[in-house]
Subunit: 137 residues, 2 copies
Amino acid sequence: MTLRSNPGLAALAAEMETHGATRDAPTRSVMALLGDRWSTLIMLVLAETTLRHSELKATLEKLSSEQAISQKILTEKLRRLERDGFVARIAGNGPTPMVNYELTDLGRGFHKQIRRLIGWINDNAETILSSRMEADA
Amino acid sequence: MTLRSNPGLAALAAEMETHGATRDAPTRSVMALLGDRWSTLIMLVLAETTLRHSELKATLEKLSSEQAISQKILTEKLRRLERDGFVARIAGNGPTPMVNYELTDLGRGFHKQIRRLIGWINDNAETILSSRMEADA
DNA sequence: CCGCATCCTAGGCGATACTG
DNA sequence: CAGTATCGCCTAGGATGCGG
C-alpha cells in the first residue's frame, strides 16, 4: 500500500497537515476545535440560545463542574470560532458594552456534526469503557 | 435558558467534563483524539491496511510533509488507541520482534465517523476559507 | 461589560540514547 | 524491531490587573 497507489489517503493527509493559515485547507484546524478544552462546549451552548459574553461565561461556569473558563480564553475561543464563520459577534452601540454571540448557519451545520459524533461515542461508550477497564486491570 | 430547564445540554456537558479515567464517560477523551497531532492520521492509515510498528512509522513519515513522528509518540498514541479498543496489537512470538497493529471493529466504526466529519469540513471548506480571508483582511 | 497585556504552569510533543 | 527513559521546547490555558 504505497502512497502512489492511494491518492485518497494522501489527499486526506495533506489536508491534515495544514494548520490554519488563511489559505490552508481547514480540515485539521477545524478538527482541532473538537479536541480543545472549550470550543465544543461553547458551540453546544450557543446552539441553544444567543448569549452575551458574560452570560455565556456564566452558563459555561454552571455546566463546568471543575473549573470556570477564564475571560481571556473565552474571548480567544470566540474570536477563533468567529474567524472560521461558526459564530457571529453582534456588538450593541449603546454607551455600555453589549455583545451578543450566536451560531451562524455554518455553525449550526457544524453543531449537527458534533452532536452526531457525540451520539456515536455514547452508543459505543460501553465498549470503550470495558476495553479500558480490561486494559487497566 | 437555565441549566435545570435543559437536561440534555447538562448531560452532554457532564460527559465533556471527564478526562479518561477508567470509569469516566469517554466523550471528551475520545474527541480529544480528533484534535491531537497523530491519532486521526494513524487511524486513517490503519483503516487501509494492517501494519507493523516500523512500517506504520514509515508510512506516516511519507504522508507527513513537515515532520516525522517520534518513536516515543507513536508508541504512546498506539497504546492509547489500544486502551480504548480502537486498535489491536498483535505481537509475534519469534526471536525478532514483530508487532502488527490493526483496527478493531470499533476502530472501523470510529474511522467511519472521522471520514464523515472530514467530508463535512471539505464540503464547507470554501465557506470557512472565505470567512477567514475576510476576517484576516 | 468587554477585552487586552502580563506572567505563570502543565502537558503534548520531539530528539536522543539505551535495553531485550 | 519494538519499547523505555531522559531531557527540553513550545503552546494551550489560567490568574490577575488595567483600559475603554
